[in-house]
Each structure stands twice: as structure tokens, then as C-alpha cells.
Amino acid sequence: MQYDDKSRVQKLKKRSVVKPTEARNRVELFRHLPQYEHGTQLPVLQSKFFQLDTLHPAVYKVGLQYLSGDICGGNARCIAMLQAFQEAIRDYSTPPAKTLSRDLTAKISSYVSFLIDCRPLSVSMGNAIRFLKSQIAKIPISLSESEAKATLHSDIERFINEKIILADRVIVKHAVTKIRDGDVLLTYGSSSAVEMILQHAHELGKQFRVVIVDSRPKHEGKLLLRRLVRKGLSCTYTHINAISYIMHEVTRVFLGASSVLSNGTVYSRVGTACVAMVAYGFHIPVLVCCEAYKFHERVQLDSICSNELGDPDSISKVPGREDINHLDGWDKSENLQLLNLIYDATPSDYVSLIITDYGMIPPTSVPVIVREYGRGQLWI
């Protein structure tokens, strides 16, 4: 991430398809991260559809879905991307005088840079791409093109199945043992793993209540709330400022994660750190549910060195409250900046347990898993 280096930014702009415009009123602390004007990219991209012959339509479609926010969440984004790559590989044909592995790797790299332009990669997507590239590199030269493509197709299928779908089932099986009758469970935002856990526990007949904590500007908790109330779970909904009030009643906290880093830090939706901190203050166990393919060897101490910046306009406007319009025309004053962080880093001392498909581990065991079930063995 070196968006404060002008020469690199120039190079990136030349290569990119999307051609984003830089945001005005950039926050100084985050100069090293890309800050772009939202809203201008989607119509430009839509109009260019027939001109982009280098890009496979499935990848293009997924990129558009990321840009508009239709696909959200680590697992969903990863699966959508891998399925798009599967289609692209199926339609791929090696040009003459080129080897399949090198050419295909270059093509995948170009797709990836397009997706990065639409929205920066999540850690899950990054790990999946590394897996795919390593599988492509391992293809023996002797294999024919159709056999190679079939191998890759089945590799991707296996990855999705083992690392995401089956992993989720194992996590749910472990996690429901931690839910007892009479529990009040708190969750933040909308995590696919936590939602599955709650639904499964309810199907097993356990009696518990759910507290859903939500925050601006995405209000992801509302979607989770709707799905859980439909299934018949008893839910309480509140916003993040009120967690000190509601934490008195809570017995367990379940959180999702975008990634867990090697120093035990949980990298997740912004606000997770606040929830974990208050729960720790009230001596309530915090359980993080994360598939093992999302672990990463990188380390991070705070939420500023590496993050993603979202659309600042979604902060200045409050949907449904037209009376809150004090910040109309905020970009005209040079003294005002709006900061819309997407992720934050929760220190490992706040986390009691991480539930993965390798079992229930403390945060200190994450580098062990990254290394022992290292990249070579992890993908077998």
C-alpha cells in the first residue's frame, strides 16, 4: 500500500481500466491508502463493457458487483471471485508459442488488478489467489490443455468446498457446544459464520436470546436481524453506543472476522474492537469464528497502517433522517474531512477463543497454524 508515492500512483493509473478520480479532502493519516471518489466509477465502467476485450465477462460482472456493494463479506466475495475464475479458465485457450502456466498466470494477474481497482482485496481473496497461482505453477508441462483446465477446475471446486463450505459446518458444530440454555448472545454486524451458528443452535432447540449491535454507515445488522427474526429467534437490536448499557445482560459474544493475523490480532469490521473491549471489561468471553483459510502471516498493531477507506458521502448523509443535513457541501471546506473506515484491528488480549475448522484455539496459536499447516500442506 503505497499510495503516497506519486510515481507508483501514476503507473497504476496508466494500467488501470477503471480510471478512478482521487477524492478531495483526503485524511492525512491515511495518505498511504487509496481514497477515491465513489459514485463516478460505476457508470464509466458500465459504458465500457463492449470495449474491454481483455476482460472475461464473468470477472467483469463480479467486479461491478463489488463496486456497487451487492456482494459483501469475506466468504461471499471469495466464492464469487473463484467461480468467475473457473468460468474464465474454462473459456481460456493457450495462444501459440506460449506455455499455459505462464500465460494463464499473467491473465489471472490482470483480472486481479481489475478487481483491486473495483474494490481492494480482502485477505480471504488474497489467500485464494495465491492458492490458485500455486496450483497453476504446479501443472506438469506434459499435461494437455483440456486436462490442465479440468485439473484447475476441480482444484478450485475442492478449495471452495473444503476451505469454506465444509469448514463452516465444522465451525458450527464446535460453536454450538458453547451455547447453553438461557444464554444471551451478542453479535456485531453481520457475519455469515455467526449467522449459521445461531440458526443451527435454534434448530437444535436451544433456548437463547440474541442481541444484535449495529453501526453506521452500513447498518449490516439490520439484514441479520431480519433473517433471524424470520426464523423465530428472539432478538434485541441496538446501536454500538449503547453496548455499555446492554452488556450487563449478555453472557457470550460471538464475532466474525475478515482475517486473523499472526500476532493474534483480529482484523474485522470497524467497531468490532469496541465491542470486544467492552465485553472484556465486563468479563464476558469473546469468541471469534473464522475459517482457517483466512489466516495470514502478516502482523499488525493498529488499524491505521493497513485498512480500507469507504465512501465519505455515506457519513455525511443519514438515510431516513433528512433533518440531519448539517454537512451538505462538506467537500467545499478544506478544514473538514470525513473518515469512513471499513476495518479495524482488535488486540488479541480481548479475544478468548478462536473457533476454526482446525478446532478451538487461543489467539496465540494462529501463527502455529499458518506455519505448520503451512501453505504447502494447507492446500492438499
Binding site: 453501526s215 427474526v229 474492537a273 474531512q337 473518515l339
Partner: protein
């Protein structure tokens, strides 16, 4: 004013405090006081009105604070008058031998009155008073020897003194922001980064004062959902030329590692040094403690409440309308009360206030200077009397 209080029409502790003080001043000036026991009559009148005001809006603690301050003023003024009278009595006793006729000109009190004044709880207890079993109201017994003219002049003097003191109180309430803002330069240095949540007039005046003195600093404002008053504060700060960044409340933990100081306002300060503040403040205080960032609370002295917070999250809190969080139309299809036990599956919780325990607060800055949270209980002795903690009219003796 009671009707207004019930509908919470008056916003802000300062405005409420001022209105309460003005109302009590008019009550006192209109009250007819008997010749004897003027202080008791005034106290009863103020307590009667005060009870109604407090009952109308129990969460607005500033009302109760001002009622108690006025009661304390009445007791103090009465005490100082009787002390002056006792002083004159001693003088007149000395000069008794010389001039018996001068007696009429002096305010005279019987020995019983002197003893009663000594028993007044405003004085530190002596061995005599500790063992006596007296009613707590400062009832000064009949002064049979005083002339009619003396009595009326004394009663007028008491009312006059009390009204003067209440005027001073109103003046203090009105100027509390300036006095707090004067201390701004002592606490803000160059190139500081300050975090605040929501909007407080005290905080904005504080920051403007520092800006006037040419300190350059940056401010992170957390928006303070669901009222979003942080947007207002950000707009004001930008208009004054301060570098401001608006963040969501969820990003407080992420940003606080880069902040030098947290400055916030309060709704009320309790006797143990705990703070009743807009919702979300406990989050900020915990994050500040974790990162060793000083947490400074600005509060005018009319916000200091002599009560101890028992279960403040429930008893001193207000739950606001859920429509601020969830649109009913959005979720009406999920709220099917016809199924199962018929009890609602969906609850929405929207508290208005948060309690911050005293161990998380580094410093209180009031119009009387800066204090530690452990010192706040001493200020209570300055401003309030122990008799007035429960503002209720006493039952008539003989029941």
C-alpha cells in the same frame, strides 16, 4: 415550567438551571414571610415548588441541583444574619451596663435563639449539639424581646439577601462557559490531536478559546448516533477554522491511538465523581484508558449533583424512541404477533445516557478550576446542605 419539564421542551442543563433559578427567585420574592421563622417559611415554599419540578423530569438533574442550591443559600443567609445578630447581642451585653435604652435599637435575640443557631447544621458539631435531638429545619424560635420594626426589617433583609445570592447564582450559571474556557490554554498545547463525542457547548467554547490564543490543534469528532450531534459540532469547528475530521462511533477505538487527549462535556456529575453523559461516552472512556489517553470532562458547577448513583444505567437513564434506530415500516412484516406465545420477538433498545465511573476520568474542569474525581465530594459541601438531599416537605409534627 412543570409542563415544559414533562415534555422536555427545555433542552440543555444550562437553560434548565437558569429557568429553575429564575422561577425560584420569583417564588421567594412573592412569598409572604411571617415575622418569626422566616427561613423556615421560605424553605418550605421552595421545597414545595422544587418537589414538583423534580418530579416532572427526574432525569434532568440540574433542576434538583438548583433547588438544593437555593435551599442552601437560604440557610446560609439565615445563618449569617443570626451570626451577625449574635455578634451584636454580645456587644449589647457588654454595653448593657452603660445604656439600657440602646436595647431597642439592636436586633436582640433570646438565649434560646442563640442556642438554636448554634445547633444549626451549618455549623460544625460541638459536644452540646451532638447529644441533642432537634428537628432539622432551621427553626429559629420566637424572639419575644424584639420590636416589631426590627422583625420586619430582619425579614426584609433575609429575603433581600437571599434574592441577591440567587442573582449571583444565575450569573454564575450564565457565565460558566467563559470561566471554563479561560482554562483552555493551560491544557492544550501546539499540534495536539483532540477527540470528542457528540456536541457540547462547553466543549466548543473551550476549543474556540484555545484557538483564539493561537494554539493550532486538530479535532476528531465522533458523530454520536442516534442524535448525530457530532455533525453540528464539526460544522461549528470548521466555521472557526479548526482542522476537523468526522468519524463514526465504531471507529473510536481505531483512531484513539493517535489522539493526545479526549475532551467531553457531561450531562451531570455525581457525588462520587462519576459522570452521566450522552450515550457512547463509556466506550470512549474505556478506549482512552486502554491507550493511556487523558479523559477530561468539562462541567459547570450547576451540573454537580449531591446524589450517589445507585444503578445509574437504569435509574438515571431515559430510553428514547426506537424509530431513531429502526424504521417501523421496514420491519413491520417481521413483527407477527399472531405466532407462538404472542410475545414480541424483536426488541429495540435506545438509551439516552451512559454512566462513566470515576476511575476512568482523569480530570474535571469546572468554573471553579480543575479537580480530581476524588475531590468532587468536597465541592458538594460548598454548594449544598446535608438537610436538602431529599427534597420533600416534612410531615407536620403531631401526626
Amino acid at each position: 415550567m412543570v409542563a415544559h419539564g414533562r415534555q422536555c421542551k427545555i433542552e440543555g442543563s444550562q437553560a434548565t438551571a437558569r429557568q429553575t433559578a429564575e422561577l425560584l427567585r420569583s417564588v421567594i420574592s412573592q412569598q409572604r414571610v411571617p415575622y418569626t421563622n422566616q427561613a423556615g417559611a421560605l424553605i418550605d415554599a421552595v421545597k414545595a415548588v422544587g418537589e414538583q419540578l423534580i418530579a416532572a423530569n427526574p432525569v434532568e438533574l440540574a433542576v434538583g441541583n438548583i433547588v438544593r442550591r437555593v435551599l442552601h443559600i437560604i440557610r446560609e443567609e439565615d445563618l449569617s444574619l443570626t451570626t451577625a445578630a449574635i455578634g451584636e447581642l454580645n456587644l449589647s451585653a457588654v454595653s448593657d451596663d452603660e445604656n439600657d435604652d440602646d436595647r431597642d435599637g439592636n436586633t436582640t435575640l433570646s438565649a434560646a435563639a442563640v442556642a438554636a443557631a448554634a445547633r444549626s447544621t451549618l455549623r460544625p458539631p460541638s459536644l452540646q449539639t451532638l447529644l441533642e435531638d432537634t428537628p432539622v429545619s432551621a427553626a429559629v424560635p420566637q424572639t419575644s424581646s424584639s420590636g416589631a420594626a426590627d422583625k420586619s426589617s430582619r425579614s426584609r433583609k433575609l429575603k433581600h439577601d437571599v434574592i441577591e445570592a440567587v442573582n449571583e447564582l444565575i450569573q454564575d450559571i450564565v457565565t460558566c462557559h467563559e470561566q471554563i474556557a479561560e482554562q483552555a490554554v493551560e491544557h492544550i498545547h501546539q499540534n495536539e490531536v483532540i477527540l470528542t463525542l457528540g456536541s457540547s457547548r462547553t466543549v466548543s467554547e473551550f476549543l474556540f478559546a484555545a484557538k483564539e490564543k493561537k494554539r493550532s490543534f486538530r479535532v476528531f469528532v465522533a458523530e454520536g448516533a442516534p442524535r448525530y450531534q457530532g455533525h453540528l459540532l464539526a460544522k461549528e469547528l470548521v466555521a472557526r477554522g479548526l482542522q476537523t475530521t468526522l468519524i463514526t462511533d465504531s471507529a473510536v477505538f481505531a483512531m484513539i491511538s493517535r489522539v493526545n487527549m479526549v475532551i467531553v462535556g457531561a450531562h451531570a456529575v455525581m457525588a462520587n465523581g462519576g459522570v452521566i453523559a450522552p450515550v457512547g461516552m463509556n466506550l470512549v472512556a474505556l478506549a482512552a484508558q486502554k491507550h493511556a489517553v487523558p479523559f477530561v470532562v468539562l462541567a459547570g458547577s450547576h451540573k454537580l449533583c449531591p446524589l450517589y448513583p445507585h444503578n445509574p444505567e437504569v435509574l438515571l437513564n431515559e430510553l428514547r424512541s426506537p424509530s431513531e434506530l429502526l424504521d417501523f415500516g421496514e420491519f413491520s412484516d417481521c413483527m407477527d404477533f399472531g405466532s407462538g406465545s404472542g410475545s414480541p420477538l424483536l426488541h429495540v433498545v435506545n438509551p439516552a445516557f451512559d454512566y462513566v465511573p470515576p476511575k476512568l476520568v482523569s480530570l474535571f474542569i469546572t468554573d471553579a478550576g480543575g479537580h480530581n474525581p476524588s475531590y468532587m465530594y468536597r465541592l458538594i459541601a460548598d454548594y449544598y446542605s446535608a438537610d436538602d438531599l431529599v427534597v420533600q416537605r416534612r410531615a407536620i409534627a403531631g401526626n
